[in-house]
Symmetry: D2
Subunit: 325 residues, 4 copies
């Protein structure tokens, strides 16, 4: 489907029709809690280790601090990091420890999706249904996600990463404009342009660089957290499912194009990808240094470890993804 075939007035209809086509419900049994992470097998992970050529590593995490983009939407703030003890206290001799030892210690209060993170399978529902068709109210209560909490994949998220630098392949100066909807055609064009290391298939973790973060870094955050952005078109749902990728991440706040491709809608591709495909979505990743390295030598795949912080019952979780090339 092409974006111009969408009926902009009927997101609900488009979602229902698309969900019917791409649903993975039941594919891995009624008890499944892993969704597309099932595709990332030990064999895939072993093969991915073979992609390491120089050993150079790249963190794909943005910073967690008060200089982040959050403005308070739905109580999402930037992380507040405070000290329990400091070097200044230690130097002033006010800590009361023996034999000259001094210490510093710290705490943090933050939304789990304030910076670089994974959406877990309990993050989004479609008409009250969570991943695999479960009733949302039986999955995520005030106590957290009792079924598909992010801890279910804490061991697993390491494998082959593939960068699709759509910004560099199709944008001007390496950046797609806000509102640019990345279609399957754009993805395939990027894959073709980048060459053979970019083939995308079962179990891969796909990283899509739009260049919006590059722009935000240069021009200021503006409305990075929730405003207009380049991102995946709703019409990529089939591609996301058919490729059998394990996960996908972008350098934007919300993964999909914004404004969304309907007159009145909110993140309709999430509504397909998470509850129906069982797909793990990463957001706010920093792909710039990695992208420069890939562009320099033409190798776009690498060993990627991106296991989320093991917060029991989390519906999303911060992560420091590390690519080793």
């Amino acid at each position: 489907m092409r974006p111009d075939q969408l009926d902009r007035s009927d997101p609900e209809g488009a979602i229902a029709a698309t969900a019917a086509r791409v649903s993975n419900w039941g594919r891995w049994g009624d008890d499944d809690v892993l969704g597309t992470m099932n595709f990332l097998t030990d064999t895939k992970r072993r093969d991915a280790a073979g992609l390491v050529r120089t050993g150079r590593s790249y963190s794909l995490s943005q910073s967690f601090d008060m200089d982040g983009p959050q403005k308070g939407w739905r109580r999402r703030t930037n992380p507040v990091h405070t000290m329990l003890d400091t070097g200044v206290d230690a130097a002033a001799g006010v800590q009361g420890f023996p034999h000259g030892i001094g210490g510093a210690d710290d705490v943090i209060a933050m939304p789990l999706q304030c910076s670089t993170q994974w959406d877990g399978l309990g993050h989004i529902f479609d008409h009250g249904r969570a991943w695999n068709g479960r009733p949302a109210e039986q999955v995520v209560t005030s106590l957290g996600d009792r079924v598909t909490g992010i801890e279910t994949v804490a061991d697993l998220v390491a494998g082959r990463g593939v960068l699709l630098d759509v910004g560099r392949a199709l944008g001007e100066d390496g950046e797609l404009p806000d509102g640019f909807a990345i279609t399957e055609e754009h993805l395939e064009a990027t894959i073709a342009a980048q060459g053979p290391t970019t083939a995308v298939g079962r179990g891969d973790i796909v990283l899509v660089r739009t260049g919006q973060l590059t722009r935000a870094r240069r021009e200021g955050w503006g409305d990075y957290a929730g405003g207009p952005a380049p991102g995946m078109s709703f019409t990529t749902a089939e591609w996301l499912q058919a490729t059998e990728i394990a996960a996908i991440a972008t350098d934007t706040w919300g993964f999909e194009v914004r404004p969304n491709e309907f007159d009145h809608a909110f993140q309709p591709l999430h509504q397909i990808a998470i509850p129906h495909i069982g797909l793990f979505i990463g957001e706010m990743w920093d792909l710039d240094a990695l992208a420069d390295a890939c562009a320099a030598d033409g190798h776009y795949d690498f060993f990627l470890t991106a296991s989320p912080l093991r917060i029991t019952g989390a519906v999303g979780a911060p992560v420091n993804p590390v690519a080793v090339r």
Copy 2:
């Protein structure tokens, strides 16, 4: 030095003498912020990728939740995870989103050292001096660690991991008793017992399993967070420095043996290892599943990614370490 050669009445003297012998100050220049992480080069990391044989991955993280061991010492609580939105709300139709989409979202408040974590180089001081000889008050203020914040190593902590399962090699039923001081002799005996895959050298990330976590899991936390524990002897300081390892982690709260090996002391080995050696110390790691796998096939080294959450200025940071064998 053997533990029985320590003057139990003089920790300050022992610390000073040991610091003089093992100091790495200036080794990597005055501006260094990486300490022993300098040993973990791209080449080392590339070679480590070659250790992956089956592709099976193991998270070495304990859970982050209210069932953890913290009891409030120095305001260290267990993490408090709360929901901003839930599946119950989504199912009840009270969220106000369009086209049937519903969502769950969450926040956390936690000490950075409440569960599986790295100590950063700004965590401990010796007589007001931080790593590389810097005045502590110029390093860690109420704004955080301005020099050696954990973000400095956010890209780097991936390489060869080596498990020293001292509990299994020397303990009864795989566990060392509380108060057991692991000496260089014990480490070497474990290396010998485990065989050739266990050689420890420059750039390695060494994981020492005592079995205390296994016991806590069976018997309840008790005083896991700060009470008696097996751990590294103060006398291993030379070994820690001479081996040129990049980092070390244990399955205990505090890395070193407790009670400490002096009459009145508090974590004296930290006072050497962090500010003088520049060594990264991991605590509260869960090594049990990995240890079972290593024991089963006799391979004790693996590819380990353990990059800390990228919290700007943090003196410690939570991490989900993942070993791939």
Copy 3:
């Protein structure tokens, strides 16, 4: 009803029967959000100001700090107070402010019911019904209490306070034992013993001292937060409603006697008092200094201001109640 008339095996029946007798639903109209606070009129408040004789004031608040009684039940921790800036930093000159000014600033993370607090009308439900018969799911969502948030009474909670020092009147050494169920008979005996200033009536804020806090202060917290305690008998429901008091508070964690007076139950009097009577309940108040003063001069009523912190949508709120005699 006397406690020995309760059928210990049937809390649900007892609750239903009692609710039918004491319900205030509809008493102040369908839109009411104030419950018994309606009884505390301006006239009552004006008259209460006349009770001030010496001008001596007493805070009835326990401390908010890590030395409190919370042990993590349902994620209720003690408050974690951390500094954003300190005097040590200011003295060390690391703050970067001009003309010699320095500052300290702080943050807190805490459950709203961790220490001295009011239960709001959205705190407890009976079979899915909140105060005035509203469906609970329409009142308190993940966004907070949208109807009866504590802000609705932020202006109002000032009036005549009356201390019923049941511990001193009926206990040994001023303390009731844990498990002691305070009945209407005990309340009336205390009123009689204390004399004419103790009359209880419409619009009053009644403070019931059991002495448990005195004991905890002497012997350590133990299970103060949720364990056995003296407190109000389930059978006082009629008294609580018939007296037309505006609010009631105790020096215990949970207001009512614990263990509760049924074989298997959890806070059954709450289930009557809050959703059916619309009564505001204060917990963890420190009544000791006030009680000493009352005992010394025989005056048991005073002007009490106890307006909760104005947290929008809170179902409970911390408060520093101040009695002026």
Copy 4:
């Protein structure tokens, strides 16, 4: 001193000279922790109770929620209030409590000065000196204010409140423009205009309404938290000390006029008022409803209870001030 007599280029000199004139150091002994709260005696409080005429009460607190004015300056965010349990969960039957009881519970994470609050005596230092001349580093460490924590006045802050509605007396439409420096002359003119109930003297709690909050409520927060504002002139330092008031509060973020009255300065009046005078300063109070009532009947004094939340060691604290007229 008049504002036009200030040397705008020399805040440090002006501060030193003013401090020398108004210092209260030693006035109440070397151990004093109460500062000007010493003026608020029991007798003053008793007399203040006599001001109650109708019994109508007014909360002077702004809301504590995410709709507040904070933008993250020095990590000051708006309060983040989240639910531990909700009515939606209770109605869905997922809470697991017996006999039909359901509950809601909540937590908060917030800076102590995010909304209506008192500055404590440990909030501001002058050249490393805190109130009464104490070295700042001995007063406020990372553990909080060990000497003058806000708990020292938890019992005390109840007495005569006097509203000086400068906005109404001197402004247009009841509001002073941003940058308007309120001088002693303006205060006296307001007192004269308001009439005999407005006399200001020893032990009073003075509330100065500028009207900025009224404007922010109408036009949006803009830079309410730290931007230009009407407020007290630096030159009022003598008046603040000579009147022997117990405390003062305004409807603005920062009490004093902003921009400050020097070329390069930051809150110079704070540097006098808190460490030298020992004065308690309230900020972000909502005085509008009270002001309307005072204007309506010409009575500008009332009984005011404004005891801060009892957070041990806090250098500032949230409060719900309640005026009863």
